[in-house]
């Protein structure tokens, strides 16, 4: 175990021991709320977004959403400059820049025949052509009886796409897990299955019906993927301080990279990645502050050789006050070079280079609530993202993105969003036209 692993293991054990000592009997009265007059603390999702069931609801519930977009990317829909002949083509540019939807799929990954080595997102393959897209048809199934501590949840997504080879509708199991919450009076549970990331905060809004805007940040590719494994969550309210602390710990097949980068559905390395986030939240009547620190260590799950390690560190903060939402996250990623071919969600590629990336984003949004039946909320938002990344031996690539958009909540079940994503190549990557204009209409049920 390396030093980082030792520290992580010690920290996890220490925190869990502390939680265990603070445990209360199962029949103890509910924990007092921080402020009986205040709205309930902002829910920290524990891996899925639907609200908790209540006794009056049937055990099985079906919900979901449909995300339809209309998008247009500049240039040829990629970040590959025609004059750049360096190989692999995806090492010298940001292939994820031209995201057109909440999934982070890009307009195109066509490198013009140049060799690529699997540092790629999924593509909707529309290049620069304006197009309607059925981004996601999402179906959630949830089963929980009122008296049982167990809950089962699945999120299956249908993704109809058109490629040069023909039409193809991919069925993707985004989440599927069972959750055990042994205490009705405590926020403590264990989930096993395909689960959300626990790293950082952006994973909380990877779904179109949750995310304020449309496209993910430049660091989302490392933190928002779901993976198969187990997760432990506990939150302890500290009434005297109007605060709470939470701990999320997960052991999963892969790091929370998006599935195109690292396969989540099986352990290629044969040893799990361990990730954790320790959070603090201050919940006042009109002001909420949330802070967190995250860490991950484990083998690269694109390698069978588990001596090729990866580690991530992150910090995040969120503030909600008077209709204003601010959020920011910093992520630092390090991967050792692999010793064999690389297995990703997109296939097998020749080499696994050493890799470093660090970046951050800051997000700000302001919501007005007219309270009209057909216009419940209006949100104006913007985000700045910055990413610096280098494959060992290659010239580092530094990029930034500025996103601005408007979101209209048309009642409680329809959301209309419009967004402009401006991409800037700051260093390493040649400048290309790769801005994106995208919109999304989300129906929830």
């Amino acid at each position: 175990m390396n030093r980082f692993g030792s520290v992580a293991a010690f920290s996890i054990v220490a925190v869990l021991a502390s939680v265990a000592r603070a445990e209360v009997p199962a029949d103890a009265p509910p924990v007092a709320t921080v402020d009986e007059e205040a709205p309930p603390p902002l829910e920290e999702p524990e891996g899925y977004s639907p609200p908790e069931g209540v006794a009056s609801t049937p055990p099985l519930s079906i919900s979901g959403y449909l995300d339809v977009g209309f998008v247009k990317a500049q240039g040829d829909g990629t970040s590959f400059p025609a004059a750049d002949t360096r190989l692999p083509a995806d090492y010298g540019v940001d292939t994820f820049a031209t995201a057109v939807n909440t999934r982070g799929e890009v307009a195109s990954t066509d490198s013009g025949g140049r060799f690529v080595n699997g540092f790629l997102p999924r593509s909707v393959d529309i290049a620069d052509r304006p197009s309607f897209l059925l981004n996601t048809l999402n179906i959630d199934l949830r089963y929980q009886t009122a008296s049982s501590p167990f809950m089962v949840f699945s999120r299956v997504q249908l993704l109809p796409r058109h490629f040069a080879s023909g039409n193809d509708t991919r069925v993707y199991v985004e989440q599927a897990f069972g959750r055990f919450a042994p205490f009705a009076t405590r926020e403590l549970n264990i989930s096993v299955g395909k689960i959300d990331s626990v790293f950082g905060i952006e994973y909380l809004e990877t779904q179109s019906n949750i995310r304020t805007g449309i496209t993910p940040s430049p660091m989302a590719r490392y933190t928002t993927g779901t993976s198969v494994g187990a997760k432990f969550f506990v939150r302890q309210q500290i009434a005297a301080l109007q605060s709470a602390v939470s701990l999320n710990v997960a052991a999963t097949n892969s790091a929370p990279f998006v599935e195109s980068l690292q396969p989540p559905d099986a352990s290629v390395a044969g040893s799990p990645n361990v990730s954790a986030r320790l959070g603090y939240e201050l919940n006042l009547r009109r002001f909420q502050l949330k802070l967190g620190g995250s860490a991950l260590t484990g083998p690269r799950n694109d390698q069978r050789d588990r001596s090729a390690r990866q580690r991530m560190l992150g910090a995040d903060a969120r503030i909600n006050a008077f209709g204003l939402s601010l959020a920011g996250e910093y992520v630092d990623v390090k991967q050792d070079p692999g010793t064999e071919e690389k297995q990703t969600g997109l296939g097998t590629f020749p080499l696994a280079s050493g890799f470093l990336a660090r970046g951050y984003y800051v997000f700000g949004g302001y919501t007005l609530s007219p309270g009209w039946r057909l216009l419940a909320r209006v949100t104006l938002y913007g985000r700045y993202g910055h990413r610096h990344a280098v494959f060992t031996g290659f010239r580092p690539v530094t990029v930034a993105s500025i996103t601005g958009g408007l979101r209209l909540d048309l009642g409680e079940s329809v959301i209309l969003k419009g967004e402009i994503l401006r991409n800037d190549e700051i260093a390493g990557a040649p400048t290309v036209k790769n801005d994106v204009y995208t919109s999304s209409l989300v129906y929830s049920w």
């Binding site: 010298g92 484990g298 494959f391 031996g393 010239r395």
Partner: protein, 389 residues
């Protein structure tokens, strides 16, 4: 602690700790070498550490770095390796090794010029030729390759050596890029050179050609020295994948089945294995040999390498030919029928294994074993003479 909670906490803790420690064995096949590139920097390090370069089961303990580079008090030197190719003496230098790599790619090498002259593209090199060339893929990258496609970038004549430091600037400025010849350059530690400055064929004792030291190319703000081993000495396809040809290493099979090198010069092939494509030689410059894969060529008992010292009668016959032949021309050359060394009709009576086709014909698929090692082995001597640039 609540009993139920304790029951769950324990396995969770164990799982987390087990996961962090990750104490299982690696699952890569034992015979698979790690996919790794060894540049001159790595080879020199291995030389100084007196450790072999891992090369897979076919090479036992590995490849000794002193077969590639000679340790020197004031600097190390590339070693000239004797070989045969297309039926004649040849020689090459080894500069880079790849283990378990499926392919190697051509990368762009930017030469800045102030004006474009199609007939003499180097005539207008920026700064009277003092501006270093520029690369964007360095030797620490697994995608580093000594096989380059020269791109002449036409820039403002007022630009200086420091104006451009990356291909990004050239592309952003819209500098016209004119493809030139494919060229073999490999970056080197400053302390790796050539001793003597004009190296000699290790058997023939005559000068080889086509290999010079250059002061440096610019990479990521640094100037890295390199070795220039000439242009047009390899082929690549439209995906920029460099074509691999075989380099046959003669071995005998021990009773255990393991191969033992006989120490004879290898044979540099001219086309992909068993492709039977004729050798392409342009102006005395072979367009092959710079990128090879090592193949073990298992010799039958009847085969042996010619040793002039052990065959004085054969030496006399060479001297008695109408045009006397230096016995060194045949030194180490392998014949499939070693009895021919004593025949009156030597050397014509020998079935020499001194070209790709002859090795393939004599040993067949069964006698040739692919290894996990490919190498940069540009020829510096071909057809019995030094290659001139």
């Amino acid at each position: 602690m609540n009993r139920t909670f304790r029951l769950w906490l324990l396995p969770t803790l164990l799982g987390v700790v087990a996961a962090v420690t990750g104490g299982c064995e690696q699952s890569r096949t034992a015979d698979d070498e790690p996919r790794r590139l060894y540049t001159l920097f790595d080879i020199q390090e291995a030389l100084h550490d007196s450790r072999p370069i891992p090369a897979g089961p076919e090479f036992g303990a590995g490849i000794a770095p002193d077969t590639i580079m000679t340790l020197g008090a004031s600097g190390d030197s590339l070693k000239i390796m004797a070989a045969y190719s297309e039926g004649a003496p040849a020689a090459y230098v080894t500069t880079d090794l790849w283990t378990n790599f499926p392919e190697v790619w051509v990368q762009p090498w930017y030469v800045l010029v102030s004006a474009w002259n199609e007939k003499a593209p180097r005539d207008n090199k920026l700064g009277d030729g003092t501006t270093p060339a520029m690369i964007d893929v360095g030797p620490k990258s697994a995608f580093y390759s000594p096989f380059w496609l020269i791109l002449y970038a036409v820039v403002d004549p007022r630009a200086t050596a420091d104006t451009y430091s990356s291909s990004r600037q050239l592309i952003d400025d819209g500098a016209p890029l004119h493809p030139g010849a494919p060229w073999f350059y490999t970056v080197r530690p400053l302390s790796v050179g050539l001793v003597p400055a004009k190296p000699l064929h290790p058997i023939l004792g005559v000068e080889v050609g086509n290999v010079t030291l250059s002061p440096g190319a610019r990479f990521d703000g640094e100037i890295i020295p390199y070795v220039n081993v000439g242009g047009n000495n390899f082929r690549y396809d439209d995906k920029l994948v460099v074509e691999e040809v075989p380099l046959f290493i003669f071995v005998r099979r021990e009773s255990s089945g393991a191969p033992t090198r006989i120490g004879a010069p290898g044979v540099v092939g001219s086309s992909p294995l068993f492709s039977r494509r004729p050798a392409e030689v342009v102006g005395g410059q072979p367009r092959f040999g710079a990128f090879t894969r090592f193949y073990l060529a298992y010799l039958p008992d009847a085969a042996a390498a010619f040793d002039p010292a052990a065959n004085p009668a054969a030496v006399m016959r060479l001297g008695a030919l109408a045009t006397p032949v230096d016995p060194k021309i045949y030194q180490g050359r392998v014949a499939a029928n070693k009895d021919c060394f004593g025949a009156d009709t030597f050397p014509a009576s020998c079935t020499w294994l001194d070209s790709q086709q002859r090795v393939e014909d004599a040993l067949g698929h069964a006698g040739i074993e692919r290894t996990q090692v490919s190498a940069a082995t540009p020829l510096v001597f071909y057809g019995g003479k030094a290659i001139s640039r």
